[in-house]
């Protein structure tokens, strides 16, 4: 797939629109996983807009994102960066043709110490 097709696919899957970004950087100011990320949230938005999806698909940043959705919540332009990350992640996972995590796996992973949000985030990241 070429860059434009990949970008359109990410936009379609995410339902988010990177063109609305005004480059304020609030997502990267917000992100709790910032230090872990190769590509920071604002950069990811810019890369999706440009169509640079392939380097993103190869990056560990996709799995460093906590899917906490703080950037989605605080973005003043409702660009929803975490949804773009999620969409790129789905492209990778779908390409591998298998689920990394299914809802059936959840009961055995339940743990009193584990925040519920982590499970939701894990499903977002590793589910199909």
């Amino acid at each position: 797939m070429n860059n434009e097709n990949l970008r359109d696919l990410v936009v379609e899957i995410s339902g988010a629109n990177p063109r609305k970004c005004m480059r304020c950087g609030k997502c990267s100011g917000t992100c709790p996983a910032y230090a872990e990320m190769e590509y920071r949230p604002h950069r990811i938005v810019a890369m999706v807009e440009k169509g640079d999806i392939e380097p993103l698909m190869r990056s560990q940043s996709l799995y460093r994102c906590l899917a906490c959705m703080a950037c989605v919540e605080r973005c003043p332009r409702s660009v929803e960066p975490a949804k773009l990350v999620e969409a790129v992640r789905l492209l990778v996972i779908r390409g591998q043709g298998q689920n990394h995590m299914s809802p059936d796996d959840i009961p055995q992973k339940l743990d009193a110490e584990l925040p519920q949000q982590a499970i939701v985030a894990a499903l977002r990241k590793y589910g199909k």
Binding site: K20, M22, R23, C24, G25, K26, C27, S28, G29, T30, C31, Y34, A35, R40, H42, A70, C71, R74, C75, P76, R77, S78
Partner: protein, 665 residues
């Protein structure tokens, strides 16, 4: 026998590129009543108008159709030309084949037949036109300015200077508005009060200006030149003629828990108060919600200490009614509420303040007497973070904030940062910005001075989160240019909150029948060419109620609004629109539908005697006050019996147009 002339304008290529103008003229020649048709490059030009005049005379035309741009552009031009040729100006009809045809179609195959249909409709209408004569109405030689900030003051001063009387209605106890709250003004850093208070004094002393402070507009009736306005003068419980402004009562008042509005609620004031030292009028006002005497009947200390005998607990609101020729809205702005921006911890920490609050902290008459200290503990701050665009430039679907740029924040933030660094070089100042927008004379130089000479650190990025930790404010934000996320332990955070119109503006606009945009800013009649006029005749706009603007712009606009007011008041009589409604009393069934829909209160009902087919009868009938009617046509649509009709837009004329369009192929 009507003789109609049709003129098809090319408007250069604006029309001619998508409409075959010659074909339109050709098609019109075979229309009933048309004795002359021609096309010309620019009908609005002097030559074009001369052609119209010559044709009217040569062919003894009784009516004219101009196929051209919107009647909003040149209807007046062509009516005047027709008048010069000896024709009644209301025998001119415009077929809008530009905005409604050529501009929205791409090729002649579509554009030409549509232009012919529109022209045919206009011909059908003009055949049923009757000559109309415009009436006249007198002009009340007095202006009303609503809002006593710098916009209202400047407009009133300029109107007064031209020799006309003007009233300023201000809802708070003093004039001065937002500008009175400012410490310094950009880009010159001169003291705001020092340049504002002379204007306040001038307004108070002008024989042509009457200040109605602590007053609000309750009702507006009438129309351009003839507004009747009801104003409520709220009870101050103080006789303003007696009060000397000595403030003895303020010092002794035991109720001291009222939020001090002038200091943005950063400190408290007494129940009886004078907003600030230079307040005009310099008289005390009792806040009835705080006053112990008014709430419980006990106390009365202010009355005892007042040597002038000015306190009057029995004072009541006074409602007055005045006539005005023109009204100026100058209702100003306020910072938005930050309740939807929890990430900045504004609600949690007193050390997170808005820029207007910071302005009061810097001001010598403010809650800290101008000492820069943290509101929480009164300690000197060492690290201050400014955050720009808080609530500005949000997308509509973000569910918070405003879509527009608030325009003034970049400059006042640079000012604040500079003032801090100048007075306290030990304080580290960082400004998070998305863009620094400084268009304006000496504005960008000012901002660069803050960065280069005063060492204000500008960080390209945005703060995501602020939280309290160990007596500090932890500020987490992005530094996009250095590709890092910053975590700053700050002592104070200053938020450049977006600005919005004063909330009372919406109700006022309804009273004035003046339109507003979706953000509740007053709309101008034309965004470029009529920027200080409301689309409602006789209503003008001054200052930030029309859109965010700084002091220089506000003063310029205030002067522009004033000259529009003066232009109106200088006329003894106004020509009224003859296209007004009238009721056929034989058809009127007295149902009152028209009265209910009329937005101008132009329709009244009365019992009248009529002779219907030889039989005398007394009926309840509608009648239209032609001086008040604006010709909107709402009544003609509402009338179930077809009694209401609009001159120049009669039902039969509209139907003739529809028929003509339906006939067209």
């Amino acid at each position: 026998m009507q003789k109609i002339g049709v003129f098809v304008c090319w408007c250069g290529t604006n029309i001619a590129a998508t409409v075959d103008v010659a074909a339109v003229a050709d098609a019109m020649r075979s229309e009933p009543g048309v004795v002359y048709a021609a096309d010309y490059q620019y009908m609005c030009s002097e030559v074009g108008q001369q052609r119209l005049i010559a044709a009217v005379r040569e062919h003894a035309l009784t009516g004219v159709v101009i196929c051209a741009c919107s009647p909003r552009m040149h209807e007046q031009t062509f009516r005047r030309a027709a008048e010069r040729a000896g024709l009644n100006p209301y025998m001119v009809e415009i077929a809008n084949i530009r905005e409604q045809c050529s501009w929205i179609h791409k090729d002649k195959a579509v554009g030409t037949p549509k232009a012919i249909a529109l022209a045919r409709a206009a011909v059908a209408k003009v055949l049923k036109n009757a000559p109309l004569t415009a009436g006249e109405s007198p002009v009340a030689k007095r202006a009303l300015v609503i809002g006593g900030g710098i916009a209202g003051i400047q407009t009133a001063l300029d109107v007064a200077e031209a020799g006309y009387e003007v009233d300023i209605v201000e809802k708070s106890p003093t004039i001065g508005g937002r500008m009175a709250q400012l410490d310094k003004t950009f880009p010159t850093l001169d003291c705001s009060a020092c340049i504002l208070t002379p204007k306040m004094v001038e307004a108070a002393q002008s024989p042509n200006i009457e200040l109605l402070t602590y007053s609000e507009v309750e009702k507006v009736a009438g129309f351009v030149g003839n507004f009747t306005v009801t104003i409520r003068k709220k009870a101050r419980y103080v006789d303003t003629n007696r009060c000397t402004g000595c403030a003895e009562c303020v010092a002794k008042c035991p109720a001291r828990k009222g939020k001090n509005e002038f200091n943005m609620g950063l400190d408290n004031r007494s129940a009886i108060y004078i907003p600030f030292a230079q307040a005009i009028p310099n008289v005390a006002t009792i806040d009835a919600s705080q006053c112990i005497k008014l709430r419980t009947g006990k106390c009365g200390i202010c009355e005892k200490v007042c040597s002038a005998g000015a306190i009057d607990y029995n004072q009541r609101d006074e409602v007055i009614e005045r006539r005005y020729g023109a009204i100026v809205a100058a209702t100003g702005f306020r910072p938005i509420s930050l309740e939807k921006f929890g990430e900045y911890a504004y609600q949690e920490s007193p050390d997170v303040v808005t820029s207007l609050e910071f302005e009061r902290i810097l001001n010598a008459a403010g809650p800290t007497k101008g000492q820069l200290v943290r509101p929480s503990d009164g300690k000197h701050p060492h690290e201050i973070v400014f955050i720009q665009c808080v609530g500005s430039r949000c997308s509509e679907d973000a569910g918070k904030g405003k879509t527009y740029c608030s325009k003034i924040c970049c400059m006042y933030t640079a000012k604040h940062a500079m003032l801090v660094r100048e007075k306290y070089p030990d304080v580290r100042v960082r400004v998070f910005y998305i863009d620094v927008r400084t268009p304006g004379k000496n504005f960008d130089e000012f901002y660069r001075r803050a960065a280069e000479q005063y060492g204000v650190e500008y960080v390209k990025g945005m703060v995501g989160k602020v939280w309290r930790q160990n007596g500090k404010l932890m500020v987490q934000g992005s530094d996009l240019l250095n590709d890092e996320q910053l975590l700053i332990p700050a002592d104070m955070v200053v938020l450049a909150a977006a600005i919005e119109p004063e909330p009372g503006a919406r109700a006022l606009a309804t009273m004035l029948t003046a339109s507003m945009d979706t953000n509740d800013f007053f709309s101008e009649a034309h965004p470029k060419l009529r920027p200080v006029e409301s689309p409602t005749a006789g209503v003008f706009l001054s200052g930030a109620c029309q859109g965010p603007k700084d002091i220089p712009e506000t003063v310029a606009q205030a002067g522009a609004a004033a000259i529009k007011v003066v232009g109106l008041l200088s006329k003894d009589r106004l020509v009224t629109n003859p296209c007004v409604a009238h009721s056929n009393e034989l058809l009127c069934n007295g149902c009152s539908q028209c009265e209910k829909v009329c937005p101008y209160g132009a329709i009244t009902y009365s019992e009248r005697e009529v002779v219907d087919r030889g039989v005398k009868d007394v009926r309840r009938l509608a009648s239209v006050n032609e001086a008040v009617c604006r010709g909107c046509g709402a009544c003609t649509v509402a009338c179930p019996s077809g009694a209401m009709d609009l001159k120049g837009f009669a039902n039969r004329q509209i139907m003739a147009e529809v028929d003509a369009i339906c006939r067209a192929k």
